[in-house]
């Protein structure tokens, strides 16, 4: 796991406010993300962030996330958040900004995860299950949720495409292959 440094050189906190002042931070973040090795799981430590608004979130979080999605085949990278701050109302601000966007984010909390962005209820349940188990296959998930293997498999592929789950291919002892999906944290 690689931490993306959000801080400017001197300050100890950063405000994700406005567009113009966030463009240099976007460039700094993008450089770190692009230069990270293939397959990296990156995270933003939100403890470094105080104020935020929609334009700042778009520049520093949504745009890099869209790039990660767009370049998933060549870079295979992931991004999540840690240390969301209640005092700064991070979760509410992020939920609002990601509404209607084509990206979804996960944030690590003390006990579990927060899913930020538009994701259907069935996909949410499946994602939460995957994070509870850390590693899961379509077959196990389908058994646990009482659903059909095919539909769960399709949902897992989509969650992987959305960069919310990693995926590894495994050889089965009895022959054949299966995908194992694992959480980012």
């Amino acid at each position: 796991m690689l931490k993306v440094n959000l801080l400017p050189a001197v300050d100890t906190k950063v405000s994700l406010i406005g567009r113009r002042s966030m463009i240099p931070l976007n460039q700094k973040v993008m450089k770190q993300i692009e230069e990270a090795p293939y397959g990296s799981i990156l995270f933003y430590d939100m403890e470094q962030v105080e104020g935020m608004n929609g334009s700042g979130i778009d520049e520093v979080i949504i745009k890099p996330l869209k790039w990660i999605l767009q370049e998933s085949k060549t870079h295979n990278k992931y991004l999540y958040l840690i240390n969301l701050n209640d005092e700064e109302d991070h979760l509410y601000n992020l939920q609002k900004s990601l509404q209607g966007e084509e990206v979804v984010l996960v944030a690590q909390t003390e006990t579990s995860l927060e899913i930020i962005g538009d994701l259907g209820d069935a996909s949410k349940d499946l994602l939460e299950l995957a994070y509870q188990h850390k590693k899961i296959t379509a077959r196990t998930a389908a058994d646990l949720l009482g659903k059909k293997n095919n539909s769960v498999s399709t949902q897992l592929i989509k969650l992987h495409d959305q960069r919310l789950l990693q995926r590894q291919e495994e050889q089965l002892e009895e022959g054949g292959r299966q995908f194992v999906y694992s959480s980012l944290f």
Binding site: I17, G51, G54, D58
Partner: protein
Amino acid sequence: MLESAEKFKNIFHIHSWLDRCAYIFDEVVEYGPLKVDLGQLKWLTPAGFTVLLSTLNYLDRFYYLETIPPKFDSRTDKFDIVGYMERMNFLNSCPEDVKLSFEKMINMDYYYNRNRNRKEKELDELRISRCDRDIEELGRSIKRIMKGKGLHINRISDITEIVTELAQNAVEHADEISDAECYSCVQYYKETSTQPGRVEIAICDTGRGIVDSLRDHVSVGSTNDKIVEKAIFTRASRFPEQDRGKGFNNVRRTAFGWSSDAEFYVRTHDSMYRIYENRLELLDKGRYFPGTFYYIIINV
């Protein structure tokens, strides 16, 4: 002479005042003394404050402002308008010649020496922001003050979102003209027996306005009203290469997401509009005067 009405309260008062400023600017070509009569003024809202201050500062670049301050008579007036203006920091931010007129005609020491305890936590006064850092500080101050007033944390985030997005926009517009600045005033009024609790947000600048800023970046031949509509309802931006233009959508969504009966007004170029969730209504056309003026009222 530029003369204020008794109330400087709503978008119609603002529009009318800006029309009068435009008339002065167009007709009074001699750069010299300009009489500004605030003698009748009895009531100012946040929008009135920001507009009055921004226009006086703008006109002061071209005229010497001889100001007649508002009159307060404790026997007949329920509300001390001079005290309110002083408390809101108007006299610290207005042109020097305006301040001198107040001090010449009113015993301002009485107001200056009043107790202003805990002001930084309770009162969001009139503020002027000139750069990105000022906007960050503005956001912090709003959070601090609204928290002190007991607003729900999500509502504080909404106010901060609206103010910082519009103020950032204003500062960026303002950059194009030297000395231009963003004026903001946010007030929370508790519920009374006659009125619901509400938040009023007023933001303005003295830049060239939405129409002139965007004209070269929207379809050729768009009317002024169409340009304003595109600025508010689409991602039209002066910087298309930077993939911007989300700020106004965020503001609109936040205001109406909070309260579907939010009142949202803008006065820019020569017209005033009411912004609804999905449409724009032209309220009136007047004369061109620089600046963009936003006024939002949300019932809490």
